[in-house]
């Protein structure tokens, strides 16, 4: 009950927007992050990448997106900074450069993971 109220408060704060992406209905928060990582598909990632100005997702992009997703589903949370670097073999600086919107708004968003909502 309490958790439901929490989730609903979080949804209210972060907003909700339903869009049709690659033929599927996806619910995003106000910052464009997936509310439900299960709604992600490779087609959705490609469509969102194109929207962000990335014509095609290369091998490095896919390696990062797959690692982020696999880690999330195995551990129930996103990987730490050093775990991303260790797990992908790609530095965070390179990763930032690979995605037009950087790490958080590029890679993490395209991987379909929920908003990390760090305290800002």
């Amino acid at each position: 009950m309490e958790r439901t109220a929490q989730t609903s408060a979080a949804r209210q704060e972060l907003g909700e927007r339903v869009r049709q992406i690659a033929g599927r209905e996806i619910t995003f928060d106000g910052e464009g992050f997936f509310w439900d990582p299960h709604q992600w598909s490779e087609e959705a990632a490609m469509a969102l990448a194109e929207e962000a100005g990335l014509k095609a997702l290369g091998e490095s992009h896919w390696a990062i997106l797959r690692f982020l997703r696999e880690y999330y589903f195995q551990n129930g949370r996103s990987p730490l900074n050093r775990q991303i670097k260790e797990g992908t073999g790609i530095s965070l600086m390179e990763m930032e450069a690979l995605f037009p919107n950087g790490i958080k708004y590029g890679a993490r968003r395209l991987a379909g993971l929920p908003n990390p909502r760090n305290c800002i």
Partner: protein, 387 residues
């Protein structure tokens, strides 16, 4: 264990890390021997614990330039202390003067009362280098102003405010002056009564080097703060009215004894190393960092010019990079822990033009070294060149 990794820790404005081992050891040792409810029982140990806590009230009082140790009130942190003060000083239909430099621990309680129509809020702007003009404070004070509340040093820009001049103005106008010393306690000497300050709110876990969960207030003799929380105090239990006697008036419930012992150990550590030595060392490192950052192309530093007096805090951004990404890169690629975002001071960022994404804050502490600063500058150089 992640904490065993060697990192360069530059988030000391959030909390100092690591804490001196001797502080932790002393805290555990005293708590192991005196960890009972102080002054609430007539057995010896309770009396001894109360005596020790009273000694620490004296230490804290002296450290901040107060005169009455019974007016040292322990709280859980600065936010808790500030809420106690703000809620206890608010008068309906009055005005409160504060500034746009404040942390949300001041802004949010004031905004709440303002939004409820209970007070009118006058927020003073700050200049390019992060200082509030005392003349603006004087102009903002009206006959119905119930108190002035300001930060001693911005948690984003590090600028130390001209509190002696503001204190003199408040004293002359007969308006209580509340000072939030969260970022300066343990970094700068603080002279509560000499400066005309009516109350200070502090936290124990930042530059005072104590544990989290302990903070407090020191009140000048002339200031009365109404209790807004009530409960057991260990005295006059027959009465259903909460005591009006300090410190219990503002300290309902059992106090954080372990935290208080840790705070005391932190104060002694500072005294051994010397407050002036700690501060001047941090400021020297900050100047070195500021000079280095401002010379890197593509890096914006706030404040652009580091003016004295300041504590070792500054904000920066790399052109074309999200601050959270910059912080992730510093952490993941270079082992540098620095805080990205708005730092709970949204109006500062609004006025700097860094809202809504904020910036990356470097805040130095007593354990940072020249080598740390060199590594940060090297990292920032590499990162800025990647853009």
């Amino acid at each position: 264990m992640a904490s065993l990794r060697k990192i360069i820790y530059l988030d000391n404005a959030a909390t100092t890390f690591p804490k001196p081992r001797e502080v932790l050891e002393e805290m555990v040792d005293v708590y192991a021997n005196l960890g009972v409810s102080p002054g609430r029982g007539s057995y010896d140990l309770s009396m001894e614990a109360e005596e020790r806590v009273m000694d620490i009230r004296r230490e804290v009082c002296q450290f901040f330039g107060g005169s009455d140790p019974e007016r040292v009130i322990f709280s859980y942190n600065a936010t808790d202390a500030l809420n106690t003060l703000i809620q206890g000083l608010i008068r309906p239909n009055s005005r409160v003067v504060s500034s746009r430099l404040e942390h949300n621990s001041v802004l949010r309680p004031l905004h709440y009362f303002s939004h409820q129509g209970i007070i009118r809020l006058d927020l003073i702007p700050f200049g390019a280098e992060g200082f509030v003009d005392p003349v603006a404070v004087a102009e903002a004070i009206r006959t119905d102003t119930s108190f002035v509340i300001l930060t001693h040093a911005s948690n984003v820009l590090g600028a130390v405010q001209p509190v002696e001049r503001i204190g003199a103005i408040c004293r002359e106008r007969g308006v209580p002056f509340v000072l939030d010393v969260t970022q300066t306690a343990g970094r700068l000497p603080i002279r509560l009564e000499e400066w005309g300050v009516s109350a200070i709110a502090f936290t124990g876990h930042k530059s005072l080097l104590g544990p989290t969960g302990i903070g407090g207030l020191v009140l000048s003799p002339g200031l009365d703060v109404e209790a807004t929380r009530f409960g057991g105090t260990g005295r006059d239990s027959l009465s259903l009215d909460h005591t009006r006697v300090y410190p219990q008036r503002l300290e309902p419930g059992t106090i954080n004894v372990a935290g208080i012992f840790g705070l005391s150990a932190g104060l002694r550590y500072i005294s051994r190393r010397g407050l002036e030595n700690i501060c001047s060392r941090e400021v020297d490192l900050a100047k070195r960092l500021h000079d280095g950052l401002t010379s890197i192309s593509g890096v914006r530093v706030y404040p652009a010019i580091l003016r004295d007096p300041s504590v070792a805090i500054m904000l920066c951004n790399v052109d074309g990079m999200d601050p959270e990404d910059l912080s992730s890169i510093l952490d993941g690629d270079f082992g540098i822990a620095a805080r990205a975002g708005l730092h709970c001071a949204p109006l500062v960022h609004e006025d700097l033009g860094t809202s809504p994404r904020g910036g990356v804050r470097f805040s130095l502490g007593p354990f940072n070294t020249d080598e740390d600063i060199d590594k940060v500058l090297e990292a920032m150089n590499t990162i800025s060149r990647s853009k």
